[in-house]
Symmetry: C2
């Protein structure tokens, strides 16, 4: 198989998240041939980040037949701008202000670079290879360290007039609600329905109730969405109510998004979806409860079935095939 | 002028609102040649509504050169569906369930009919002839008896997978907030930022405070958004705080919409915009306050400058020019 595709051009997909950065080398059929991961968080300076990225990608490039076989690099990054190739004021990245990321990567790798919002990249991946294949109207929502979104309408990704559309995670769901330290805003979706948000909810609920819970035995530094999940599958009531609360907020946000662009489906992706029905059931219930009649019982909630890290890498790499 | 356009085909635009229905005969350049209005509210049955519409339009059609000169009829209606020509479960219309409105009008007038959401129609009108001329990404919001919206992205109206996109008025802005009697949902934008919503806010504020106000002298049956406006321009503090509160909710909703689709502008239209800066100033302030940095200070709030009733009639009529 390696032989028959030897002359096919390949593309590099890079998915920059708040915690880690995943990257892979992808063929036109959506096979991730090689992939790896480095830390994002660990780099206070974007320069050292790009150096490590280069060093980590180099052996993969050699394995894949050398840099000459690469058509280009596609990048998904929080607050990434398709039009300008910059990452601007990303609350979840260590680099502040306006970062000319596409340019920096282009100089280092000597390859053309296309960049967009990480969730937009994931949406393209789902549309080309995943759960949204063939759909013309859907919303992709990534539930990771933060909450990202990519909106597809009329078969096209919505970039907005300035390239920044799709920041559903920052929409305000609970006015005067929980403070988001990265943005300074109160009550945004991301401050509740991200992995970080779930941890905060756990801390709040443990503090505000006397209810016994397995979570009370978890050391504070280990109290995260994974710990909540593990307690919940053991039937821990407080852990279950953490997911119920998270689903209530997420369901409301989904209902609002549906009444806006009326998608055929919402595709969820990211760490929190691993909780399965623990989070999906309350999400679906509260979504339906907040929809006016005309939208009820017709929008699918789908969970990405692409391999954990692949959707975003695939989506980012897909940007390359559209390059002129 | 009438002579030179004598052979030009014309179109009929009909804008059905919760209270009244406006209609006009329009040429390709967007001139509303003849127009009139009937009551919507007064017709419990859609059949008698269509009869009155026919009777009211007939003299206009004669003035315009007869029905033979009409290329077709475009209709904007709440919960109107572009794909099916139906109006479905419209909370603000007297006719419940699924109404095959396009078909009913077609049978009566013997002309082809295209139908969409009233706010979508207004958006098309603004894009072709109004404040959004030349824009590829904008959101139209109609602030009338209810709150409607039309979303344009990548130069195209978003209908969604089922034709119902753009129901921003029903998105929940204040969870567990004010009950919307038409939908049974709590805290929707429409329950605050419509003419009806402003009246409710006035009643609530008068009941919950002892503050002297000109509005206390207004008979309850005359207490509406117009009365609030008239008190506010006289400097009445309570009336001003009603607009401030309305602008707070509307501004939050606009911020959320912006973070979703990142439009170049939001075009406002309808009765409430007549209050000018009384409502626009707090709206703008709260919009900016809720936006994350990347969206701040770049989205224009525009007020439709089309003649009061024209935007929706023009937009509805514009559907006709796209007919095959």
């Amino acid at each position: 198989m390696a032989k028959s595709t030897a002359r096919q051009p390949l593309s590099i997909g890079i998915d920059i998240g708040g915690t880690g950065t995943k990257f892979g080398i992808v063929d036109r059929d959506g096979n991730v041939l090689f992939s790896d991961e480095i830390s994002t968080k660990g780099h206070a300076e974007v320069g050292t980040f790009i150096d490590e990225l280069y060093n980590a990608l180099s052996p993969l490039l050699e394995n894949a037949g050398g840099v000459g076989r690469m058509k280009g690099i596609g990048v998904g990054a929080p607050n990434g701008n398709f039009y300008t190739g910059t990452v601007e004021y990303a609350p979840n990245l260590p680099w502040k202000g306006v970062i000319p990321l596409a340019k920096l990567i282009e100089s280092k790798f000597k390859l053309p670079v296309a960049l967009t919002n990480d969730a937009n990249a994931a949406a393209i991946g789902e549309m080309m290879y995943g759960a949204a294949k063939g759909m013309k109207d859907f919303i992709m929502i990534t539930l990771g360290t933060g909450v990202g979104s990519g909106i597809v309408a009329n078969g096209k990704l919505i970039y907005g007039h300035d390239g920044f559309a799709g920041e559903l995670g920052h929409t305000i769901i609970m006015p005067d609600g929980r403070l988001h330290k990265g943005t300074g805003k109160k009550g945004s979706l991301e401050s509740y329905a991200s992995a970080t948000g779930v941890t905060f909810t756990a801390i709040e609920m443990l503090e505000n109730s006397q209810e016994p819970s397995l979570l009370r035995e978890v050391p504070k530094e280990n109290l995260d969405s994974k710990a909540v999940y593990e307690a919940a599958i053991k039937g821990d009531k407080l852990a279950l109510s953490i997911f119920e609360f998270t689903g209530k907020i997420l369901g409301l946000a989904l209902a609002n998004a549906i009444m806006f662009s009326s998608p055929e489906a919402i595709v969820l992706f990211g760490g929190l979806t691993k909780a399965g029905d623990l989070i999906l059931k309350p999400t679906r219930e509260h979504m339906e409860a907040n929809l006016i009649q005309v939208f009820q019982n017709k929008v699918k909630i789908l969970v990405s079935h692409l391999k954990a890290s692949d959707a975003a890498i695939l989506g980012a790499s897909a940007l390359v095939w559209d390059m002129k």
